[in-house]
Symmetry: C2
Subunit: 161 residues, 2 copies
DNA sequence: CAAATAAAGGACAATTTTGTCCGAAATAAC
DNA sequence: GTTATTTCGGACAAAATTGTCCTTTATTTG
């Protein structure tokens, strides 16, 4: 009767302006670790995964990547766990986390996937995207983990639900 | 020796501000069909896939979805193919193509994947993303396929390489 | 040194997205 | 009506992303 079922196949449930899941977890984890480091507390993988509501083993992989990239600090054994030095918190920007996890083809790439796309040979949406993408880039490069962690510490922001 | 191999595992090669591949192809295809419709030419699946440099069969699926959603018009048989009525070109916005293909959870969803994230209970990046996401939404809702097709027709923009 | 604890990392599994193949259905031309 | 052409749509396959399991390695404590 009504055309309900019409056109109902969905290709991808991506969002626009998105991080991969890996990146989401990475940002949340880093923010949480930092907020705890502000209070001199080292945190374990388990508590991180719990706090940011992420799969433990997958989170472990991401933390390993972040540690290898010197974004976070890890140590083994009892009393081990993750932390971020306070003095580094202002230096660490969202952009670093993102490119550590998802690589740095981040700001490259045209909105329509053309390999060669620029102002003099643009894809149809190039100019429409230019400002938005640039705003996003600036935001990621200017937002420090300190800023994010502080908001969380004070209870202004949330990592779950 | 040097720390070359360090931190080299990449989780996802997504871009930020991205469409899914399906969406990319959908936008390109629609733009190409429209540009040809401006010159009264119906186009075939094969020529579309060639022109936008996409896998034929996958593109077929996407065109089917677009047709079911009345964004494009299709007809079978010899002399068949795809077209878009000129008078509809101003009405069709990028946002419609995107939600036909990827669903309309598009502007929902928080940057960090929280299900409940808003100004009064924000995730750490909520406010940072708000403007960017909103700009993107407005852009998608205001950009018509006519606009994109015209640029392409005049040779101002490109769909390949 | 032994035991306990926590991260590192390799191998593998599930899910999602992207891509392919092929027969069915519709339509135009002869 | 038969044939050729083109989209439709179901089933399947490949690749990428997300997620799990389990052993090894490092470190602290007794």
């Amino acid at each position: 009767m009504s055309e309900n079922k019409i056109g109902s196949y969905i290709f991808a449930v991506n969002y626009l302006v998105v991080f991969s899941k890996a990146c989401e977890y990475g940002i949340k984890a880093t923010t949480y670790i930092a907020s705890q480091s502000l209070e001199e507390r080292r945190v374990s993988l388990k508590s991180i995964a719990e706090e940011i509501d992420s799969p433990v083993a997958f989170t472990a992989k991401i933390l390993q990547t972040l540690a290898r990239n010197k974004i976070i600090d890890s140590s083994k054994g009892p009393t081990g766990g993750f932390l971020i030095e306070k003095k580094k918190m202002d230096e660490i920007k969202l952009s670093q986390i993102v490119s550590a996890i998802d690589g740095d083809n981040i700001y490259k790439g045209c909105g329509l996937g053309l390999s060669e796309c620029n102002a003099s040979r643009p894809c149809p949406v190039h100019h429409h995207f230019a400002k938005i993408r640039n705003d996003l880039r600036k935001m990621l490069e200017n937002t420090s983990i300190n800023e994010l962690a502080s908001g969380l510490e004070v209870g202004l922001t949330y990592l779950k639900r």
